[in-house]
């Protein structure tokens, strides 16, 4: 009997110690940090975060958005095209796939590299046939973000409409199911969670360019970069796509 009491007391003390440790840890880090990778894990939303695995590839959104349901998602091609069309992801994935390693450089100074796979605008335009008056494309995104790119810049080599990242379908945080990769432009010219591509006649300012000191052109300028995988150590960049590292 005394033996059982001893075991019970030991278990009680041990259990109490671990419970206390957990409570203290919980208090210091906050509940979401113990169980979740970032503030949005386990929720129906995605938004800006630098937490968990995203500390090596930051995530920016215009505003938090509900995760996209692939059963209902469609890409709408509208505006100045001969054949407006609505695509499913399966249809887009059947277009010829190109893969490339490229670095996404944010205007905030950080950058990160990934392997992106998707299709080029040329493939899409063979189907929808833009009119001669269509000068550019206005992207409408799931987080209400809008961004404009000229057709000239979209047709440059290494510009992709990407549906995969590092061999996996895009995660919600990285813009599932479709995003633009334009490696010579700052991240804000790489819209994600694309819902609609509207062919337009006039150049337009995107969401950030309308409200902040962000150039509508968005070309990466010569200067300094702080790549996340190299501990944000400053590196000089010549402007345009970062190819040296």
């Amino acid at each position: 009997m005394r033996q059982i009491e001893k075991i019970t007391r030991r278990l009680f003390i041990k259990g109490g110690f671990w419970a206390l440790t957990l409570i203290l840890w919980h208090g210091i880090r906050g509940p979401q940090k113990i169980w979740a990778e970032d503030s949005f894990s386990g929720t129906d939303f995605v938004g800006k975060t630098r937490e968990g695995k995203h500390s090596s590839f930051y995530i920016n959104f215009w505003k938090p958005m509900r995760r996209i349901n692939i059963k209902t998602w469609r890409l709408k091609i509208t505006g100045l095209v001969e054949s407006p069309k609505i695509f499913t992801l399966d249809e887009l994935q059947n277009l010829p796939i190109h893969s490339q390693s490229s670095r996404l450089k944010c205007v905030e100074c950080w950058s990160a590299r990934a392997e992106w796979s998707g299709f080029s605008l040329k493939e899409l335009e063979q189907i929808v046939q833009p009119l001669a008056s269509a000068r550019g494309v206005l992207f409408h995104c799931g987080d209400d973000y809008k961004e404009y790119l000229s057709r000239d810049s979209l047709k440059q080599d290494r510009v992709l409409l990407a549906h995969s990242m590092n061999g996996e379908p895009l995660s919600d945080a990285h813009g599932f199911p479709l995003r633009l990769i334009a490696p010579s432009k700052y991240g804000y010219k790489n819209p994600k969670a694309i819902l609609e591509m509207e062919y337009v006649a006039e150049q337009q300012a995107g969401t950030w360019s309308k409200i902040g000191p962000y150039s509508p052109d968005g070309t990466i300028l010569p200067g300094t970069d702080h790549p996340l995988e190299f501990g944000k150590q400053a590196r000089r960049i010549p402007g345009g796509e970062i190819t040296d590292y």
Binding site: C109, Y186, P213, S215, D217, T219, L221, P222, P238, G239
Partner: protein, 213 residues
């Protein structure tokens, strides 16, 4: 009085045609310091003897470029802004058509730096007025607008304005020299020895050129 005002207007009007690229400065033969010690952004430091050459005082403007390449389009009122979004091949072709060539990077550096190995075209002190740091893009301005950005030989806009193609190349890319007057998140003008490498097919809003012969 009316005649005088008319004369001033005519002078201003003729100036607005900006015959910039026809104006060259001669850089005399002689030794000069090229490069910088222990700086990966520069050529290794050396004293070079260069022959006499001439170099455009200003970057080639949009209006000047469009005279030879009418398909080059620019906004009205931006005639005297530096011509950019031009590949190295196009820049070289323009220089050849006007009877010139692109400068080598050594010629470019001597034109900016003189013979006293200065850090900036105007001397060693960073200017009190910093480059505009708050905008993520290029705001082009009339070439030669910043009168302080003036080298010992009178060559303009070698620290600011836009970067420039040179004839030199390394590892399949061409050397670009120069700097911007509005740097995103950078608070200093480029130094005379700083260099970048860009593929010759690159076309960027921040990259223009000037010619030499």
């Amino acid at each position: 009085m009316k005649t005088f005002i008319l004369f001033v207007c005519l002078v201003l009007a003729s100036e607005s045609k900006y015959a910039y690229s026809s104006e060259m400065v001669e850089v005399p033969a002689g030794k000069s310091v090229i490069g910088e010690i222990s700086n990966n952004d520069a050529l290794p430091q050396q004293v070079l003897q260069l022959q006499t050459f001439s170099i455009d005082r200003f970057e080639v403007t949009q209006e000047e470029y469009a005279r030879f390449f009418p398909e080059f389009i620019f906004w009205q009122g931006a005639e005297a802004h530096p011509a950019t979004n031009i590949t190295w091949y196009q820049a070289q072709s323009y220089c050849e058509q006007v009877g010139k060539r692109l400068p080598t990077e050594q010629e470019w550096e001597k034109s900016a730096r003189g013979t006293d190995a200065r850090l900036y075209p105007w001397g060693d002190k960073p200017p009190r007025k910093k480059p505009h740091p708050f905008y993520s893009g290029i705001i082009k301005r009339r070439v030669g607008l910043n009168k302080k950005d003036n080298s010992p030989y009178g060559v303009r806009d070698m620290a600011g304005s836009v970067w420039e193609w040179t004839a030199s190349f390394e590892n399949g890319k061409n050397v670009t020299r120069g700097g911007l007057w509005n740097h995103h998140l950078d608070y200093e003008y480029s130094k005379t020895f700083e260099r970048n490498l860009i593929a010759p097919s690159g076309r960027f809003i921040f990259l223009g050129f000037r010619c030499a012969k």
